[in-house]
Amino acid sequence: MITHFRWLTVLFLLTSATTSLVGQSSKSVTSATPSAVDFVKDIQPIFAERCYKCHGPTKQKSDLRWDFKESGLRGGKSGAAIQPGKASSSLLIQLVSGEGELVMPNDGTRLSPAQVALLKAWIDQGAKWPDGLDPKGIDPREHWAFKRAAVPAIPKVKDSKWVKNPIDNFILARLEKEHLAPSPSAKKRTLLRRASLDLTGLPPTRSEIEAFLSDDKSDAFNRVVERLLASPHYGEKWGRQWLDVARYADSNGFEKDATRSIWPYRDWVIAAFNKDLPYDQFLVEQIAGDLLPNPTLEQKVATGYLRNSMLNEEGGVEPEQFRVEGLIDRMDALGKGVLGLTLNCAQCHNHKYDPISQKEYYQFLAFLNNDNEPIIEVPTLTQKSKRSQILNDIRALEDELLMKHPELTEKMEGWVKTNQSTKGNWIVLDPQTWFGANGVKFEKLEDHSLLATGDRSGETAYSMTAPVSLQSVTGFRVELLTDGTLPFGGPGRSANGNVVLTEFKVSVVAGSDGKTNDLVLTNATADFSQKDFPVAKAIDGDVKTGWGLDAGPGQNQDRHAVFQPVGEVSAGEGTLMTFNLIQKFGNQNVIGRYRISVTADSKPEADPLPAKIRRIVDLSPRDWSEDEKRTVFSFYRTTLHEFEDTNKKCADLLKEWPVGTPSLVLAAKPTGRTTHLFKRGDFRKPGDVVEANVPAFLPPLEGNSPRNRLTLAKWIASPVNPTTARVMVNRVWQSYFGNGIVMTSEDFGTQGERPTHPELLDWLATSFVQHDWKLKDLHRLITQSATYQQDSIVTKEIEETDPYNRLLAHGPRFRVSAEEIRDIALASSGLLSQKIGGPSVYPPIPDGVLSLGYGAPMKWETSVGEDRYRRGMYTFWKRSVPYPSLSIFDAPNADQSCARRLRSNTPLQALTTLNDLVFVEAAQALALRIFKEGGKDDPERLSYGFELCAGRKPDATESAKLLEFLQKQKDYFEDRTASAVKVSVADPTKIPEDVNLHKVAAWAMVSRILLNMDETITKE
């Protein structure tokens, strides 16, 4: 590990140890000047002997290395070390000659005077450094993946008849080199099931099988692919794979692991795949959708990609620590999932293998460090139109009112004038100390408000102490303020931004002994109080009641209340007051942001105008826009009791305002944060300030582009970026063939595996970009190749030479993903819901599983109706207690980005598909389906059921064995009605009347076998 100080700092620190040597030779530097200096003979050996140790192959202190021409001439962190032609002003000479306090080398032994003289002469003679001396194969910047892919030549092959498209040239060329032959084409049934699973994650239906089998046209398979690409399930299959990379989950992680609502992002991903949003655009919207010109709501939702990081809301956390951890997680996700770089290896020190310095890591992080992390409300299309309708209706009512009462316009002007004086004279207090009970932490903002962060789950009390310089205080104002970081903008921290202030207390800190005098408060007023939560309840001494702000959907805005002290309160220079805001309502109804002001006005009351109206009223009415005018009018009319009827109609309309779904997004802060390098990666140890930039070994940013997320996004999603396209096509390849062309799909760096077919990778990547980053074109290409269409039978020869099928002498054969195992069981049995998107669902979960999570077990209300049988990807994903039957089949935990899943094969998996309730229900439903629809006799029924599961009919051996088993089961259940009922139906109160349950039970036993066959859960 290289500890990271600036070069000169290191020198400085070491100076004291070497002072005895300094000055020793300062005179001898001027010794005889050598004639023509030869770099190879005279200079390189000095570098090698005395400099490489710290500035060479293993270490590059100060980002400087003397074994490479480019680096040596460029210099390190302290700038250029060499000024060709000017030895005297070259830093290198100053350091080695001991002219200054700092000396190099710093190991205690100085260069000899002759060596120094050689270096001086070499520089004075122009620092000639011949080309071609750089060590070969060592400079990581030369690594293949860091160079832009060129379109490779398509190799010639002997067996050109086998080739269907260029993919096959690359694959076959390699096979021919290894003296291997490709496999024959897969059977039509196999191919159909393979393509259906690959493109939609679902097995083909019987009618789809039939249609394909009877289609003899040469393009039959291509049309199957087109049908599958057009299926809405395509977006589910490929969206789910992206969600691994995006570490999507429905909970925050860590101890509290509270539910989060970010499924609109999940649905955005599905929709993006379905409409074939070009991958470059797909990335830009996820990384910086909010920064695009006039971003749509969907583009904002897309930034949920970055928000999928875990969030620690445990009591007593330091929120900044976990905000930073979130950034580090985003770096990791971009690295592993998008760039194929192990960026996070440079979090604590320079990357040991790839050319990413620790400074560059934080420069990259600086792009991501300037945001708020809000939760926005996402209405559906229907909700959006309903909203416009409500607004139009209100507008119409108001127009009608104005038509009938033209005098209102003038009256309102008068009202405005009167109200220009109602706001009072308030002095905002500057908090000196503050504290939040139950682990709440605060950030003090420039307007002297305190923004709450950290735990929000429990009861709390905020205390704040501030100096009060007014001589006499007649009132206290509490402002509860909205903020971009709060749910729906706040001002509270509950899911809809509400808050309940249960008690407000003020005490004066008297004298230096810290004793306090509690004030008695009275005459509470507020610009708004929620029904049954009047502001007076905030000073009634009862912590069970309080002031509430919920004004209904869409009404989140700044609010304020004013309280008067009883009796005279004198203050002035040196007076401190402590304010206690007690919040015991629970359910996260706690203050998000607040500030407190004092006044000396006589009998102060709350400004009746809400802050957003006040802001307009304070402007000259002449300057109002039409919208502002209307906003003021909408408020003004509510103050006029004679129009109660209209007001009530409008209020009733607003009650219908549909509330959208919350979703986590990113939003740029008006002013960004300063980013520091964190020494050893520790956020408590900020080092140098860094400016946003991309690593030097990758292409630079375009000219004057602003250093923001959008620039970063465009740079990542650019054809000049050498890894972006390669990483994506590689992961697509991985999905089809089980392994990427680069097996380490998350690491294209020097420690990653070399590609098995480098030219193919580059050909795919360049062709992907040429096709406007359209994934569906890539799918067409792959599925139409002979390589893809091979049979997956493993021959003895291949088994021995290529056990992992890296050379693809046969088609892929491997177990499907966790979600697809569920989907196949439900699809085969006819239970599967086809519904796309929407809130995550709660299929049955075994008892006791949720109690492994912290605290009271989460309420898992098992979904009813079709939501019980949704595709696996819609299962609510709780990070601390992942859904067992998915987790057991290697679904990633979503704690961090996952670019490739493991595929294990364990007894717990066997138990799951044999005995888990979901699979038991599937077997029962399949049995009923077979029994009812399967045909006239048992062989037909068996064939029907087998085909539903495996996509083919059973052969004679399989049929014989299964039918024999069926007969045995029939015999068994014949006189065992109770067992037959248990085995055949999930709910004994709903026994189907029209079937023979003894027989269905026998079929349920057979169905269980069918669903557990290796072939059923395998893509062949």
């Binding site: 992680g253 692991d257 875990m310 620690n312 445990e314 007593g316 192990t342 040991k352 790839d354 504290f435 009970a437 009861e459 009390a461 206690n580 089980g738 097996m743 380490t744 690491d747 990653g752 997956s792 493993v794 088994e799 021995e800 056990p803 099928n805 054969r813 491997f814 008892d847 006791g848 949720l850 492994l852 999570g853 912290y854 605290g855 601390s880 207690v881 057991i888 290697d890 961090q896 490739r900 493991l902 595929r903 294990s904 094969n905 364990t906 007894p907 717990l908 066997a910 138990l911 799951t912 044999l914 005995n915 077997a923 064995k961 068994y972 039970a1001 036993m1005 076998i1009 557990n1012 290796d1014």
Partner: protein
């Protein structure tokens, strides 16, 4: 030790069908649990082993062959259990001196909170004279068999990250847990139970499933939580109406169908799947048998305070012994009940009552069965608690203690641990360590050392880097080694 090469060689050997038939035949009943995993080609080399849980030899002769870790989640108060501070009595109720808490951050309290002396009496016990609180009368009887470490320290001061740190050596989720590393390194001696079993009493843990996760290691090394009620392992029971005999018949047929398909496709992964089903079948018998505490003598049950059928820490301690007897490599008990922000006195008393007898009984029981020699028992939480009081009337907290990562106490026994010693010490107020600091990384290095590993060499390559339990730090604590 890096098993990549070894596992890969093994995989290549076994992956061919002929090898499968030759070595294992089709009498699959004879094949061990070891054959339970060989994930297709995922991660290429490692997962594709036929036998990742085969018992393996570590780097050098181990002192401990198995581990029972009694994880006291929530962080027990060392000041009320082990770390006796008479000085605190003098300062009880007074603000802590500013110089002591300079620069320290706390989760819930202000750093100038008053000091708070333990309400419990402490006495010296055994020949070793270890000082222990009156609430641990049973442990007091076995102090000569254990080593107390009063100088533990950690980096994290919130529960979830601290638990994850204690269990995985990293505060970030997604790294393999200690049990996963151990089974990765040693495999398991059990033929029909998972190699790493997790039991829990009291609440769920702050760290959640990450506490026993396998991180980037193959899933087979992940801890398997045994449930307290119903099936110990998820989906262990057959569906209603399906008898064991019917299950056997079904699996026989399933095996025949799968073998038939194996012969056609030649994919050795099918052979592994067949083995998985056979292993699952055996688990269906072995796990309920294991859980049946009714097989234990009355004396044993009384010693632990265990009651068959009841979910408790005592039952879990007894189950832990039964698990290691059956060859399970790593058993971890989680007792999430020690987070005493309020009424630490009452809380510690209750939890001591719930855990003390069984913890001590486990030591005695292992000892009398000759298992303590090579079974490492570890007791401890994720951090300690403050010498200052936590009180906040507004949220109903009083006389509690806040999180204290600077210093806390753990104990260990058996498996090569020096008996009857107390290592390390804190200052007079119990604030900072003044002697023999043991960091979490050092603890991990020590545990691996006892298991026969050089902790710097038990690695797994992931994302271009050799990862290890101890990250880039840690030294075995030689003073703890017998």
């Amino acid at each position: 030790m890096n098993y990549h090469k070894e596992l890969e060689a093994e995989a290549r050997k076994i992956i061919t069908r002929r090898y499968f038939f030759k070595e294992c035949g089709l009498g699959l009943g004879a094949m061990g649990l070891a054959n339970l995993l060989s994930g297709n080609q995922a991660f290429g080399e490692v997962v594709s082993s036929s036998n990742p849980l085969t018992p393996r030899k570590p780097h050098f002769a181990p002192r401990a062959k198995r581990v029972i870790y009694l994880f006291q989640a929530g962080a027990p108060s060392q000041l009320d259990l082990f770390d006796y501070k008479p000085e605190l009595l003098k300062f009880d109720g007074k603000p802590v001196p500013a110089e002591v808490v300079k620069g320290q951050k706390y989760a819930f309290i202000k750093p100038d909170a008053a000091l708070f002396a333990s309400k419990f009496k402490f006495e010296k016990h055994g020949q070793s004279g270890a000082e222990i609180s009156e609430v641990l009368p049973h442990l007091a009887k076995v102090v000569d068999d254990i080593a107390l470490v009063k100088s533990m320290t950690t980096d994290a001061f919130n529960h979830a990250p601290a638990q994850i740190f204690m269990n995985t050596g990293s505060q970030q989720f997604g790294r393999p847990s200690m049990g996963a590393w151990t089974t990765y390194g040693l495999g398991s001696e059990s033929q029909d139970l998972p190699g790493f079993v997790v039991l829990s009493s009291a609440g769920g843990t702050s760290g959640g499933a990450g506490n026993w996760g396998c991180g980037f290691l193959p899933t087979v090394f992940q801890g398997v939580p045994f449930r307290r009620n119903g099936d110990p392992i998820l989906a262990l029971s057959n569906p209603a109406g399906v008898s064991r005999e019917m299950q056997r018949q079904s699996l026989d047929l399933l095996r025949e169908i799968n073998e038939h398909h194996l012969a056609l496709t030649g994919d050795p992964e099918i052979a592994t799947r067949i083995n998985s089903f056979e292993m699952a079948y055996r688990m269906q018998t072995s796990a309920p048998e294991l859980m049946d505490l009714g097989q234990e003598s009355k004396e044993t049950l009384t010693m632990y305070g265990a009651e068959p059928g009841k979910a408790s820490f005592a039952n879990n301690c007894l189950l832990a012994r039964r698990l290691v007897e059956r060859g399970v490599r790593f058993v971890q008990l989680f007792h999430e009940a020690w987070d005493h922000h309020s009424d630490v006195t009452g809380g510690v008393k209750n939890q001591a009552k719930a855990t003390d007898q069984a913890s001590a009984a486990l030591i005695q029981d292992l000892k009398q069965r000759g298992l303590l020699e090579d079974t490492l028992v570890i007791w401890g939480g994720e951090f300690g608690r403050t010498p200052m009081v936590e009180t906040n009337a507004e949220v109903g907290r009083s006389m509690g203690r806040d999180h204290h990562p600077q210093a806390f106490t753990m104990w260990m026994a058996g498996g090569g641990i020096k008996k009857g010693i107390t290592l390390g010490a804190t200052d007079d107020l119990g604030f900072h360590i003044v002697k023999d600091r043991v960091h979490v990384h050092d603890l991990h290095a020590t545990i691996l050392q006892l298991l026969g590993f050089d902790h710097t060499k038990l690695t797994y390559k992931f994302q271009g880097r050799d990862f290890r339990l101890t990250d880039v730090e840690g030294d075995p604590v030689s003073a703890l080694l017998a």
